[in-house]
């Protein structure tokens, strides 16, 4: 801990057009230290990592590696100077073996040295053994399980013996057992005296590893300190949990007796080698409001996409006694399961009204007018913004538009994915009220996915907790606050 500062970042600023992705971010990492950089999606943490690596050029600020200014250098030079990175998604050389992939990282950046230096082969083997790939040296990446691919990326990053290692989402897509093994690897890096930057949206996953944590939100630094300090920090709790958890009294309990509208049985999804959903069972009854809470990467979006027919899956999805597999996404949407996705998927160049009209194209003219009027009542701001181009709306307005557009289809089941993503607290309140009114004024069934528990719980009749591709808890919102609230973050 007393080692000198390896990486020193000061006042880093990066703007993308009007958006300030990182504003005055600074930190130190010493040799043999692990710094966790956390924040929800869109908080700017990945941008900071890219600024350090030289993948993006900072608009202002400095990055010093062992006292040498590297800001503005091309990334290959920064890499040569001793910074390594483990990307979350990488594209390995598919036609080369694991060993060759690791050898790649050991090659000189020279046009004249056609053959690798004699020791390279031996060194690559050592690294492969060190990261736990000793048994699969000669396999092709495409035949490896996901965790081994991550190991290989790790091997590539440490092949150059970097002084600083940047790791993006170290545990995404890994099973609980693999997380342990990976943590060991990362601790190993620290023990070798390297400075490590872990970038994650999940405080909990880096809690056991990080010596210190820096939390970001909307491009700003919101807290810094030990894991405990940061987890107790009010702002951090508000960002992640939305403040104190409160539970509203449930509406009529007759939902219990209604038949299930949506039923998932043994739903599993793989992205290549990575398992994104592991045998998920779930029910949503008619008229019910069900929340699925879970951190980013837990598998919520995958689950919704499986329901909407956008990703291939095994297991069964039933909606109102129909099996949805085999139906096109369009047909599923028309049958009444309408998703309002996390990414909103608005038609940016069309006006608000045009966006809504597209949602209402399946309705008869009269029904369409009524529905529109009702939606304008629900979201008055949209009426005022009717002829504005969707791209130019604020984040909150865009989210309302996305929900309204989905509602234009008069869904039987509205699937709402992360509506609060990247929104300011004041907007959350408006959104929350709109949902409340929606729940009270219509018989609609809602399946909500949220990482913001405070937003998710008040509306919910029932709650599922999704962690690492699995449903780990199911119950009433009140129980959740009592049983899971503390351990969630």
């Amino acid at each position: 801990m007393s080692e000198r500062v390896r990486l020193e970042a000061r006042g880093l600023v990066k703007r993308f057009g009007g958006l300030v992705a990182a504003n005055d971010i600074g930190f130190d990492i010493r040799a043999g230290e692990i710094l966790g950089l956390i924040g929800p999606n869109g908080s700017g943490k990945s941008t900071v990592m890219k600024l350090v690596m030289g993948i993006e050029r900072p608009d202002a600020g400095s990055v010093k590696l062992d006292g040498v200014e590297t800001a503005g250098w091309p990334s290959y030079r920064i890499a040569r100077a001793g910074v390594g990175i483990v990307f979350q998604h990488s594209r390995p050389l598919h036609r080369q073996t694991v060993l060759e992939n690791i050898k790649l990282a050991l090659l000189p950046d020279s046009l004249l040295r056609l053959a690798a230096a004699p020791g390279v082969d031996e060194r690559a083997r050592e690294i492969a053994h060190a990261v736990g790939l000793g048994d699969v040296l000669h396999r092709h990446p495409s035949t490896l399980p996901f965790a081994d691919l991550r190991r290989m990326e790790m091997g590539k990053a440490i092949a150059r013996d970097p002084k600083v290692v940047l790791i993006d989402e170290p545990f995404a897509g890994l099973t609980a057992g693999e997380v342990g093994a990976f943590s060991e690897l990362i601790r190993g890096l620290r023990d070798q005296g390297r400075a490590v930057l872990l970038v994650d949206h999940n405080v909990k996953s880096v809690a056991a590893l990080a010596d210190r944590v820096l939390a970001m939100y909307l491009g700003q630094r919101v807290a810094e300190g030990t894991v405990d300090e940061v987890m107790r920090d009010e702002t951090v709790r508000r960002v992640y949990l939305g403040g104190t958890i409160e539970v509203v009294e449930r509406r009529g309990a007759n939902a219990e007796v209604k038949p299930p509208l949506l039923r998932l049985e043994g739903l599993s999804v793989f992205y290549g080698k990575a398992q994104a959903l592991d045998r998920v069972d779930l029910d949503v009854r008619e008229g019910e409001f069900v929340s699925i809470v879970g951190l980013n990467g837990a598998g919520k979006t995958t689950l919704f996409n499986a329901v909407s027919g956008l990703v291939p899956y095994s297991g069964e999805v039933r909606f109102a006694d129909r099996v949805l597999s085999g139906m096109t996404p369009g047909a599923i949407a028309r049958s009444g399961v309408v998703q309002c996705p996390e990414s909103r998927e608005l038609f940016g160049e069309l006006t608000v009204r045009e966006n809504l009209d597209l949602g209402g194209q399946h309705l008869a003219a009269g029904a369409r007018t009524d529905q529109l009027a009702w939606l304008f009542e629900l979201f008055p701001i949209l009426e005022a913004r009717q002829s504005q181009v969707a791209r130019t709306l604020s984040g909150g307005e865009q989210q309302m538009l996305a929900i309204a557009r989905a509602l234009m289809m008069q869904p039987k089941l509205l699937v709402l994915d992360e509506p609060t993503l990247g929104l300011a607290p004041v907007i959350l309140e408006q959104l929350s009220k709109a949902l409340e009114r929606l729940r009270e004024s219509t018989p609609i069934t809602v399946l909500l996915g949220e990482q913001n528990v405070t937003f998710a719980l008040p509306h919910a009749d029932r709650v599922y907790l999704l962690e690492h591709a699995r449903i780990v808890w199911e119950g009433e919102p009140a129980q959740f606050a009592a049983e899971m609230g503390a351990g969630y973050l």
Partner: protein, 308 residues
Amino acid sequence: MTTVFGPRLLLFIAVFVLVASVLPLWLSAYVLGVLTTAYYFGVFSMAWDLLFGFAGEVNFGPTFLIGLGAYTAALLDNQFHLPIPVTVLAGALAALVGGLLLAVPALRLRGPYFGLVTLVAVLLLQNAIVIFAAFTGGEIGMTVPDVLSIDPKVNYWYALAFLVICAILLFGLSRSAIGLILQASGQDAIEAQALGFNVTKHKLAAFSVSALFSGVAGAMLIFYMGAASVGTVIDIGIGVQIIIGAVLGGRRTILGAAIGAIFLVVVTEVLRPLGQLNTFVVAAVALAVILFFPDGLLGHVLRPRESE
């Protein structure tokens, strides 16, 4: 060397070279002539595959580089009567300059945009040749007074030797450190940079190598043909044939590209009795291969295997 090629491949190549080099003892001058042309096209396709398969750059204008090499050599021979090696060298240099010229937009542009620039480069070269017809012979081309040889066997051996040398160099390069780096940067330039590789430098190198081989092959082809003309070395149709050859044989394999190109030339000849329709049939066959065997004829065979 064996680590680069693998024992089986080495054996295959040795057998191929051995068989190919004694073919003139049996085959007629015509078949040798077809194979001679086919071998040069093999080099064209390999050079293209280095850019596409390894550096990830879709070059729609391989004939820009080939044409520069061919016409530079032809002009120097026709106008100044320089010896063949000198003109070939000059052709190679001209193609190299052309390659670097293409590399500049390639470093900035992606996909269809770069493709279009390469296409336009060919059109501009073609127009330039017609406009400066006084020197270049315009659309009807120009004859070169010198030839490599008038003996079909000797011509064949030249082409075969050139093909083999190019195949060894290009394939070796593709399997060498640089090949790995190129592939990595073609697949994910950001990650390659983050691993410490100057992607710009390596891409420039790839363009240079591809241009150099294309230029030399173009120059040698016209000294075999005895005439340089737009329809022989520059026309977009020739470029299409080169690309189809590479995709047909299996892109990203270098050797597959060569074999695909040779196959294409030979099949076109075999189908010559169809007269006018052989182009149609060849295009249909190529389309079918692309639709049903996207990895190409030899894509699977030539993939490096897992050795467990």
